[in-house]
């Protein structure tokens, strides 16, 4: 038996298929992952992502600590509630995790990190924290509900108290604010508009049921994966991990090189890699034929293996097989072959990012 989120019983009552995910008993789907996926693209869906790890960084050194432990620069965050996406690197520049950091005050930031990397993330954060005047504290008293889709804002506002309507409706992308006990962030992992709502665990089921009554469709981890892949968003453990740097993982934009005198963990290794030549990149692939690309399949050009699929699926929105693949940086082919089971099938090379705000980009 794995850990259970405060919403576990709601999933069971909705006849979700429950699977183990990083030690958590989570809903994979509630019947049809395609219906759930479509609800998020066309209307609204909600995900229980309470398994994700929330970490409070507090203390007088909170800012310099995070400037050192994260590859992006939290000094960019000056307004309370503003967030940034960043990698946390090891000394070799390998990605320990990707995460979102929220600025609350100079002495208080909030991180949301992956569930599957919880233990190593906490150990790393605590280890580095020894050199700083900060505390690293996991929040286990909060649930997280992600409401996503073109109707997500309207549906969420329908269950938010009157006094917080304006605040929540005016939230800009990658910004969060407290609405009473709720910490509402305009973020997500689907390529659609919406919110991720942090809520005290004992209030989570009430909010879930209110959203359900408002017509928001419960969606499982399976739909979450196809939505993020269509949006071209990396999944930790698939598309990047400690064996690669952010520069090899389409995350170069999250590395803050300026100011030059900001030292951060992994900086020297990244600079050395830039100097020597970055060996890999992530590309998008759209299969031109029958079959479905899957993680681990080889990418070939002229009978030579030039890379590997890191995430692949059938895209419900476009009805095509799409994938993210890690290939040699020098590759500039417009078409490659993918070893799909026993066949080599042509695939078009595109930028990762296949669907955005309900519209196919391929």
């Amino acid at each position: 038996m794995g850990s259970k989120t405060p919403l576990y019983q709601a999933h069971v009552d909705a006849e979700a298929r429950i699977v183990d995910f990083g030690g958590w008993d989570m809903p994979l789907n509630y019947g049809s992952q395609i219906d759930e996926h479509t609800a998020v693209r066309e209307a609204s869906g909600m995900f229980d992502v309470s398994h994700m790890t929330i970490v409070e960084i507090k203390g007088s050194d909170a800012k310099p600590y995070l400037q050192y432990v994260l590859a992006n620069d939290v000094a960019k965050l000056t307004e309370s509630g503003k967030a940034l996406y960043t990698a946390m690197l090891n000394e070799d520049g390998g990605v320990i995790d990707d995460l979102i950091a929220y600025y609350l005050t100079d002495a208080h930031y909030r991180l949301i990190v992956n569930a599957s990397t919880r233990e190593k993330d906490l150990a790393w954060l605590e280890n580095v924290a020894q050199q700083f005047n900060v505390s690293v504290e996991e929040r286990i008293d909060l649930a997280i509900i992600a409401v996503q889709g073109p109707q997500a804002v309207e549906k969420t506002l329908s269950v938010i108290s009157d006094e917080h309507q304006e605040l929540v409706s005016n939230l800009k992308p990658f910004t969060a604010a407290y609405a009473g006990d709720l910490f509402v962030a305009r973020t997500g992992y689907t390529g659609e508009d919406g919110f991720e709502i942090l809520i005290p665990d004992n209030q989570a089921i009430e909010l879930w049921n209110q959203l359900l009554a408002a017509g928001v469709k419960p969606c499982g981890l399976a739909a979450r994966d196809t939505l993020r892949l269509e949006a071209g968003m990396n999944l930790y453990g698939n598309d990047m991990d400690e064996s690669v740097t952010p520069l090899e993982s389409n995350m170069g934009w999250t590395v803050a090189w300026e100011p030059e005198d900001r030292d951060f963990v992994g900086r020297k290794a990244l600079e050395a890699q830039k100097e020597a030549g970055i060996p890999h990149k992530l590309i998008g692939l759209v299969l031109d034929g029958k079959g479905i690309m899957r993680e681990g399949q080889e990418v070939l050009v002229n009978d030579e293996v030039v890379g590997v699929v890191t995430s692949g699926t059938m895209s419900p929105t476009t009805s095509k097989s799409i994938a993210i693949a890690r290939v040699q940086r020098s590759l500039d082919a417009e078409e490659v072959l993918v070893q799909v089971r026993k066949k080599q099938i042509p695939a078009k090379v595109v930028k990762p990012g296949f669907v955005r705000k309900g519209k196919s980009l391929i």
Binding site: S32, Q33, A222, G291, M314
Partner: protein, 129 residues
């Protein structure tokens, strides 16, 4: 509890087999199998007239998340495939024992049908999973 029709035969790799007479059988995947797979989005069926041995990988069912091999339950020759599955792979989810059948084959030795699992045997197998 998923449906396991008593009149069918089964193999532990989750295919069902229905004897149509004269050594011709229809093969599909069980309701339990389609539940495990989730939404089926692609089906590759064997070629008509191909000769197969028991446990050969002869077809593929792909759901959004994963690919599953389908095995020949017994030796024989493929006589017919369900062409509907090309455009409507979701029939495997909606009607696994009916419109979602996959292929028909002429068995090399009809007596081998007795070696397959009964509905009770199969129910017991999946209860242990």
């Amino acid at each position: 509890m998923s449906q396991i029709p008593a009149e069918l035969k089964y193999v532990s790799s989750h295919e069902w087999i229905r004897h149509e007479g004269d050594g011709v059988v229809t093969v599909g995947i069980t309701e339990h199998a389609q539940e495990l797979l989730g939404d089926v989005v692609f089906v590759e069926v064997p070629e008509v007239d191909s000769e197969v041995e028991a446990e050969d990988e002869i077809a593929v069912v792909e759901s959004v998340k994963a690919a599953s091999d389908i095995y020949a339950p017994l030796a024989g020759t493929i006589t017919e495939i369900n062409e509907e599955l090309e455009d409507s792979p979701e029939l495997l989810n909606s009607d696994p024992y009916g419109d979602g059948w996959m292929f028909k084959m002429q068995l090399a030795d009809v007596s081998e049908l007795d070696s397959l699992l009964s509905a009770d045997d199969y129910a017991e197998e999946i209860a242990d999973e």
